[in-house]
């Protein structure tokens, strides 16, 4: 079996992978929604999202809705490509033990 380091290390982190998977299914998502879905703390979530933003995998938009601040995250094209590449690599590494 190939070694783990062949997988993209930015995506491989459990929380970052969960975040990208959530963002892959929606157009954009708010910070609080991502926090609720992942059960993560504000600090950890913010740090992991910052890493994904730094890698160019997500973009962030801050705005006010009904006078309340809203932080929205959206997956970029580069993020989507990297995510798909990661899933393909994962499936290849697992070989025939899983289906598509």
């Amino acid at each position: 079996m190939p070694e783990l380091p062949e997988l993209n290390p930015v995506i491989h982190g459990k929380l970052r992978l969960a975040l990208l998977s959530l963002l892959a299914g929606v157009e954009e998502a708010e910070f609080t929604w991502l926090r609720a879905k992942t059960g993560s703390t504000d600090g950890n979530l913010g740090a992991q999202l910052a890493k994904l933003e730094e890698a160019g995998y997500v973009t962030v938009e801050k705005k006010f809705v009904q006078r309340k601040p809203q932080t929205l995250y959206r997956m970029t094209e580069a993020g989507r490509a990297a995510f798909l590449e990661y899933v393909q690599a994962l499936k290849q590494m697992l070989g025939g033990s899983i289906g598509d």
Partner: protein, 202 residues
């Protein structure tokens, strides 16, 4: 780390991806009540326009239904909090909003210009447009049951063209009952079951 442990970890990652993608999509499905609302609105408009012979019965009822729907959506969003939108949701919304605007513009233009004297034309136009939106939505969702609803609407449109005014009206009333009320209630039951299952898994 042993090969077996590595494989387990990779499988765990794959399972996490599937769970999270499903979780993101699960939160945006709740359309059943809109079918029932519009079905009731159609019946109100039909009853009002037939019994009182009031020309503005349809536009007033349709605008009221729009306002009521916007209010319910706003209240649900306030109660349930932020829910992200999927591309599929946007595509389906686009089909229904386009249909609603087309129907409002065309039927009002026909009505106010005096070219809607034959009620069969009204039924044919309305049923065709609603059928189109149902078909578009069913193709996006790959859902045969909703496509069957589209067929029922198109059948009502054809009957109104070839049948008498009474036959056209009956076909329209049946299509509203089957494709708005029955389909909407069925959808609401399905959504409630899905929510219950989601709560059990949480």
């Amino acid at each position: 780390m042993t090969a077996n442990a590595e494989e387990l970890e990779l499988k765990d990652r794959l399972s996490l991806i599937e769970t999270m993608i499903a979780e993101g999509r699960r939160t945006t499905e709740s359309y059943g009540w809109t079918f029932v609302l519009w079905g009731v609105a159609y019946y109100v408009a039909i009853a009002w326009s037939s019994l009182c012979k009031y020309g503005l019965a349809w536009p007033i009822t349709m605008i009221s239904a729009c306002v009521l729907m916007a209010l319910i959506v706003w209240l649900r969003q306030s109660k349930c909090g932020y829910k992200p939108k999927t591309t599929k949701y946007r595509a389906i919304s686009a089909a229904w909003i386009s249909m609603a605007i087309s129907m409002f513009v065309l039927l009002d233009a026909l009505g106010f210009s005096g070219k809607l004297a034959d009620e069969r034309i009204f039924v044919a136009v309305a049923a065709t447009l609603v059928g189109t939106a149902n078909a578009t939505s069913s193709i996006i969702l790959k859902w045969k049951l909703q496509f069957a609803c589209a067929v029922v609407w198109w059948a009502a449109a054809v009957i109104s063209c070839f049948g008498t005014g009474r036959q056209g009206s009956i076909a329209f009333l049946i299509a509203i009952f089957l494709c708005q009320i029955v389909f909407g209630v069925y959808l609401m039951i399905r959504e409630a079951n899905a929510r219950r299952q989601g709560a059990n898994h949480a």
